[in-house]
């Protein structure tokens, strides 16, 4: 064993080589294409192929690299071109035709195609950069900094930009010092609960028993959240580095990454990253020539939401059904196979290398005193600029939605924002000034959760969204606690009744009472937080519940049983047959005046005719309650 070799010396050699290899990429024009799962869904792989074909056809020399996700999902697929003479340019919504054209014009004629460009990536005199937009001003990227700019399949890209230098630092330091730094930074677990990470590590380090285990919880099950997936797909090595540092700190030699089975690409990327780190001696036996060894294994989940709960996660890793157990003992004392185990979220681990490099004070200078650092949110739903954002803690919801996210899509009216997935709540317009941090959100009746944020507009029914989340938790309840198993089912039945127009006046009180019981009578947070979506919607949108129950009307025109489709006779163009062709069940016919009419008996309410009707006519509308149709037909004399 070469224990006399300094890890810094070994690392310096690795870095020099990595920088050399990376710089070779820039000798030719470099084309980077965002090919994480979201980019692929938008057609990134076809774009890659088309660009390679085009380069071949034109006999042009260029390097094409598939990178991860930059977080600007609304503009997928995204392409970045580094070419001499211009700052690197990012292009959005690049389909195959546009991609080929940009490459052709740029690399042969020197025209960078400004009309397709999103931003320039470096400050310059002629094209705006990210920091010229509100989003760029608010954002402070730490964990996401490299996402979309380095090749996740090539460890040298990570090393060349200073990756694994934090590991070198801690290999020379005392493990106690690492924990002190993390404690001083005030880092709180980003899985949702916000428990101080340093404290967890210290408990595990001091706990008796060996071996000690380290688990990264990448079972990102909240619908509407995709931050962990993006990190795993875009910079897998930052997670591996963070875990290795944690392993050194708590005295563990074995780490696991528990990852969702629904993320096949993330599994592939992280498996490859582990392999590459091993080959470079940054993982495995005698890391960088020291006597510290640390191994990481991938464990794939099997599709159970409750396994995001740490004790259920442990049960699942031990080959049992994922049913939570009582805490204490906490996993830091007795976790996997009864041994001390640290379980942290992907983001928590990914912050660690940055804290080690820049110090605890730097981290504390971002965000607020009790909630230092940044918050990473997945913006989805009815928002203009969907995607992944990283903003300092204490940014308000208003800033996040209307400045960073660009407001509501299609000029609609904001109604609510759902934060924290099935455990969180809906916040109305009046709560928009709430700062984003663990404590403020909990106080406002929502929760930070893992960071999914779904924006809802005037077309979204709040009773329906409550029903949706309860349907989710009810199906995912493991069945251990009676209140969670039966209480959520009973609540769901009531909500279903309401969305079908069969609600009773006493239903709201019954829902509130059941909610209180389910919260009290459940062991784990799945049950304890399951009623939150119902409670928060009743609190802020009671009038919608009343409309459903008392009038059989859905104000947002969403609940299928309470609406009907209707063609406005004075708007119908008569000679246009778009709606007739679009109807899957032949429910639309022409009456004597050649006006199109919907046969309500046949209509399956699939929305096709409303989409098909040309916008200049916009003759198809939804009416609620359905009895409106007969009244209108009579009034307007439709036969």
């Amino acid at each position: 064993m070469a224990s006399n070799t300094q890890p810094a010396v070994v690392y310096a050699a690795l870095k020099e080589q990595a920088v050399q290899n990376r710089d070779k990429l820039f000798e030719k024009p470099l084309i980077m294409i965002g090919a994480a799962t979201c980019g692929r869904a938008a057609g990134a792989l076809k774009l890659v192929e088309e660009i390679k074909n085009e380069l071949n056809r034109l006999q042009l020399e260029a390097n094409v690299v598939e990178v991860g996700c930059m977080g600007h999902c609304y503009a997928e697929p995204i392409m970045v071109i580094y070419n001499e003479g211009f700052p690197p340019m990012a292009y959005g919504n690049v389909n195959e035709g546009v991609g080929a054209r940009i490459v052709r014009d740029y690399l042969t004629d020197g025209d960078p195609g400004y009309e397709f460009a999103l931003v320039a990536l470096e400050p310059n005199d002629f094209f705006p950069t990210f920091s010229d937009f509100p989003r760029g001003v608010h954002e402070n990227k730490i964990v996401l900094d490299q996402c979309g700019f380095i090749d996740p399949q090539n460890i040298e890209h990570y090393i060349a930009t200073g990756g694994y230098s934090a590991l070198v630092k801690v290999l020379e330091a005392d493990p106690g010092e690492i924990i002190e730094t993390v404690k001083a930074s005030g880092l709180r677990g980003r899985g949702g609960a916000g428990f101080p990470t340093g404290l967890k590590w210290e408990t595990c380090r001091n706990a008796g028993g060996s071996p000690k285990y380290l688990i990264c919880n990448a079972d990102e099950g909240d619908p509407g959240a995709f931050m962990d997936r993006t990190i795993l797909e875009s910079t897998p090595h930052s997670l591996l580095e963070g875990m290795t540092i944690a392993g050194r700190a708590v005295g563990s030699e074995k780490g696991y990454i528990y990852i969702r089975a629904e993320y096949p690409l993330a599994v592939e990327r992280i498996t490859q990253a582990v392999q590459q780190a091993r080959e470079k001696g940054l993982l495995g036996e005698n890391i960088l020539g020291t006597d510290f060894s640390f191994n990481i294994e991938i464990f794939q989940g099997s599709g159970a939401f409750v396994c995001g709960e740490e004790t259920a996660l442990l049960a699942s890793m031990e080959g049992r059904a994922g049913i939570p157990t009582h805490k204490p003992p906490f996993p830091a004392d007795a976790g996997l196979w009864g041994k001390p185990t640290v379980i942290n979220n992907v983001k928590s681990f990914s912050y660690v290398p940055h804290i080690m490099n820049n110090g605890a004070d730097w981290f504390k200078s971002i965000g607020t005193e009790k909630n230092p650092g940044t918050a990473i949110f997945a913006l989805a739903g009815k928002i203009e600029n969907t995607g992944l954002v990283e903003v300092p803690m204490s940014t308000t919801l208003n800033e996040l939605i209307f400045e960073v996210g660009g407001g509501i899509a299609g000029g609609k009216q904001f109604k609510a924002v759902q934060i924290g997935g099935p455990s969180g709540g809906c916040m109305p317009e009046s709560a928009l000034e709430t700062p984003i941090d663990f404590d403020s959100l909990t106080e406002a009746g929502a929760m930070m959760g893992s960071g999914g944020m779904v924006v809802l507009d005037e077309d979204d029914c709040m009773v329906e969204i409550a029903r949706y989340f309860l349907d989710f938790t009810q199906k995912e309840s493991c069945g251990k606690c009676t209140f969670c198993r039966l209480g959520t089912k009973h609540m769901l039945d009531i909500l279903e009744r309401i969305t079908k127009g069969q609600g009773r006046p006493e239903d709201i009180d019954l829902l509130m009472e059941l909610a209180a019981r389910v919260k009290e009578g459940s062991l784990c947070n799945l049950g304890k937080t399951a009623p939150n979506p119902v409670l928060s919607t009743i609190r802020h949108f009671r009038d919608e519940y009343d409309a459903h129950i008392n009038e059989g009307r859905c104000p947002s025109l969403m609940c299928k049983d309470l609406i009907a489709y209707y063609i406005l006779p004075d708007k119908c163009e008569r000679s246009c047959d778009a709606c007739v062709g679009s109807c899957p069940v032949e429910a639309i016919f022409s009456n004597e005046d050649r006006i199109k009419v919907i046969d309500q008996e046949k209509c399956v309410k699939c929305d096709s005719c409303k989409v098909a009707c040309p916008p200049q006519y916009a003759a198809v509308v939804k009416l609620s309650p359905p009895s409106e149709v007969a009244a209108r037909e009579q009034g307007e004399g439709v036969k």
Binding site: T37, C38, R40, A41, A42, C73, Y74, E76, E220, G221, D222, P223, G224, A225, F226, R229, A261, E262, Y263, P264, F299, Q300, G301, S302, G303, A304, F305, S316, M317, E318, G319, R320, A321, G322, W337, A378, A380, G381, K382, T386, Q418, G452, V454, L456, D460, I465, Y468, F472, C478, K560, S582, P584, V585, V604, K605, C606, D607, S608, V611, A612
Partner: protein
């Protein structure tokens, strides 16, 4: 569902092959079942018995684990697996309408397989492509921004592919 004698042999042999060289520590149970499902597409009873014997646990425990997790199937899947994402963003953008469109076109309900075993229809938890909502995953391919008419289009393109394939095969057979 009854397996044919041939299917049983394949299932047993595949399972034994996967089990060989695996330690009998229970921590390997779920990874083993995942591998069986990857190979066979589902976990038949004979495979459960083989696995139970290997780990020295009652077969009912294996069945218990399989039925607890959403990922495991007890029946063979269709040749093309259609999975409708049921995440929040997809739901709010009309995943239900998309689900009904598939059900109507394939003439099956969610959780079923078409009679010719060409398609099976499932709902999955969020696939994390919320910005492309509503999303449908066909086999491994993620399709974003689906509408009922796009469902028709997707099915049509599969039919075309199948026809082309059949034509290519026909050509081969003629050549022999």
């Amino acid at each position: 569902m009854k397996l044919t004698a041939e299917e049983t042999i394949v299932a047993v042999e595949t399972t034994r092959e996967i089990l060989s060289g695996i330690h009998d520590s229970r921590g390997s149970l779920i990874p083993v079942l995942q591998r069986v499902q990857n190979k066979l597409g589902y976990v038949p009873p004979v495979a459960m018995q083989e696995v139970a014997a290997h780990f020295n646990i009652p077969a009912v425990d294996v069945y218990g684990v399989i039925t607890f997790y959403n990922q495991f199937r007890l029946t063979p899947p269709g040749k093309n697996q259609v999975k409708i994402c049921m995440g929040t963003a997809c739901h709010m953008r009309g995943a239900n309408i998309i689900q009904e469109a598939w059900e109507r076109r394939l003439k099956i309900k969610v959780g079923e397989t078409t009679e010719d075993r060409e398609f099976s229809l499932e709902r999955v938890a969020c696939v994390g492509c919320c910005t492309m909502a509503p999303v449908v995953v066909i086999n491994e391919e993620v399709n974003g921004k689906i509408t009922p008419t796009r469902v028709d289009g997707l099915l049509f393109s599969y039919e075309l592919d199948k026809k082309n394939e059949a034509a290519a095969k026909g050509g081969e057979n003629n050549g022999q």
